[in-house]
Symmetry: C2
Subunit: 330 residues, 2 copies
């Protein structure tokens, strides 16, 4: 086993979020499924942006948000994802590095524009995401620093990365390297529509024993299990993976590893603003606990604390001092 | 006098703000004057950005913020400023148009990069601004739509625009057109360092009777008057301009027109987050009142309401429903 000098290496779509308020009528008029993520092409991105309210731009991307959360919690984190040599690419690189994450892939000039996600936040704080992948889908297997994978305690992958072909190959190469090096592989199912696109592949990954820690929310676990009843779905998937973590929004979260089961309530919050990044930051807290050898329960509590911070402001990267919020737990 | 179909036409530097938290030690280490605005070149912009925390990008620029505030209050507003044909330029154009402002100048591909302002927000909510003017300083006199100027009740100009030579010429042309068409000319002194660079020019504009409404804060009015005592400075300047408006942060604001004097306290706020845009939105509220024929006191109250909204979140454009906040006053 390689020396583990890095807590977590994350691989994901490098995306700048464009966040604007919208009302339910706007979502209905655009036939958007509230709470979901859909992929759009550049033409649709331009069209939809033209209809959106004024926005704020903040670096995002699921696994990138998780890496930023890990660094904010004091863990060593690195990120692999592709940006273009453009202004949004500069912003993405600046932000993730400023957050203390090692960004391992240089920007490229031949990959179109940096990815952006048009996020509509409704008054109920739900986010509905429209992602133009652009440069992010040009990540190649050769961009994966295999030595970095081997040096990490945990490799973290987002299910979204399964959509574009090249990053999918990159992810497979990273999993191979992780398994050879004794690096635990953590995977988030990302989105129920993402599962409906790739269920067989995801189940094959799980059943081949290539995933050690699986993250899901309620919609995702029932979608993956093909089973509407929550507890039945959890039991079915938990039997197939070493460690299953399921987040349940305001109802808290549960983790199951063989016969061990732990759960936590959601952290209390002062005001709910924008749920973007809740799952990503939950994963950051949980993985921080795992990387530092903490119990399932402590890992869950760390996840709940990090998620609670990010849903109290716009944007999916932490703004408050997560280390202070997690004091005594890490 | 031309028919007045537009409430306010604003001319200013078209700037995207890059807003990040910083502590006092960082400002000291970079020899930055807290609360001020300084002009920087592209090299310094890259250097300073590299040292800043992760940020959020939001459209800004003083007069552009004022135009957005006017539109949010239900006034008809147009904006003249130069952006480049780049990603930040697209964002600037999208945001100001989404806010309901007519943006009168097309992006250009031959003017470098769109302007950005690196804004450091300290824990006391003060903002310290570092502006790379880029494309904004390429605004030319020929870009000023003179018919639009003539159609406006009020022409609003930011003192910052006096720094670069071409926009200065554009501003002079706009003032000429306004005076010929019976359009009132409103001018903000912008920043005390800006005044120290251009005091003689600003006083000459005032004494030539080319400014009808002058906006200043406490630091600016004393700097312009060359008089440390606040009341003496206000009296000296009020004697030279038809309508003087002075904002005093938490102490409220005062307006003086000849023998008439009105004042208002600051609006109460729940939490102070980022003072960026306070003066710009005060001007928006005050000008909305003036465009709609309201009294000095009502105009001041509208200014205080709009300023109070913008300092309770990051970014210098309104997020809450200003029309609702101003209900009954307009």
């Amino acid at each position: 086993m390689t020396d583990k000098t890095l807590d977590v290496l994350a691989i994901g779509n490098a995306i700048v979020d464009v966040i604007a308020d919208a009302d339910d009528a706007f979502l209905a008029g655009q036939s958007l499924d509230k709470g979901s993520m859909r992929l759009i092409d550049e033409g649709e991105a331009v069209r939809l942006y033209g209809l959106m309210n004024a926005g704020r731009e903040v670096s995002g991307g699921s696994a990138g948000n998780t890496a930023a959360g890990l660094a904010a919690l004091g863990c060593s984190a690195a990120f692999i994802g592709q940006v273009a040599s453009d202004e949004l690419g500069d912003i993405y690189k600046h932000d993730i590095e400023a957050e203390g994450v090692r960004f391992l892939v240089p920007a490229r000039g031949d990959v179109g524009a940096t990815a952006r996600c048009l996020i509509l936040v409704t008054p109920d704080a739900q986010r509905t995401m429209n992602t133009f992948l652009g440069a992010a889908q040009m990540l190649e297997a050769k961009d994966v620093d295999l030595a970095a994978v081997a040096s990490a305690k945990i490799l973290y992958l987002e299910g979204y990365l399964w959509d574009p072909a090249q990053p999918r190959a990159a992810m497979k190469a990273a999993i191979d390297a992780a398994r050879a090096a004794g690096t635990r592989v953590a995977f988030t199912l990302s989105d129920s529509f993402c599962i409906s696109r790739h269920r067989d592949d995801f189940l094959a990954l799980i059943d081949a024993g290539r995933i050690d820690i699986l993250f899901a929310n309620e919609a995702e676990i029932t979608e993956l299990a093909g089973e509407r009843a929550f507890e039945a779905a959890v039991a079915a998937v938990a039997a197939r993976v070493p460690l299953l973590v399921v987040t349940r929004s305001a109802k808290g979260a549960v983790a199951i590893a063989g016969d061990e089961r732990a759960s936590v309530p959601a952290e209390p919050i002062a005001r709910l603003v924008d749920t973007t990044g809740a799952g990503d930051l939950f994963a950051a807290g949980f993985l921080a606990g795992q990387a530092k050898g903490k119990s399932l329960e402590t890992s869950l509590r760390l996840g709940a604390i990090a998620a609670a911070e990010v849903i109290q402001h716009y944007g999916a990267r932490p703004e408050a001092d997560l280390k202070a919020l997690a004091a005594g737990l890490l």
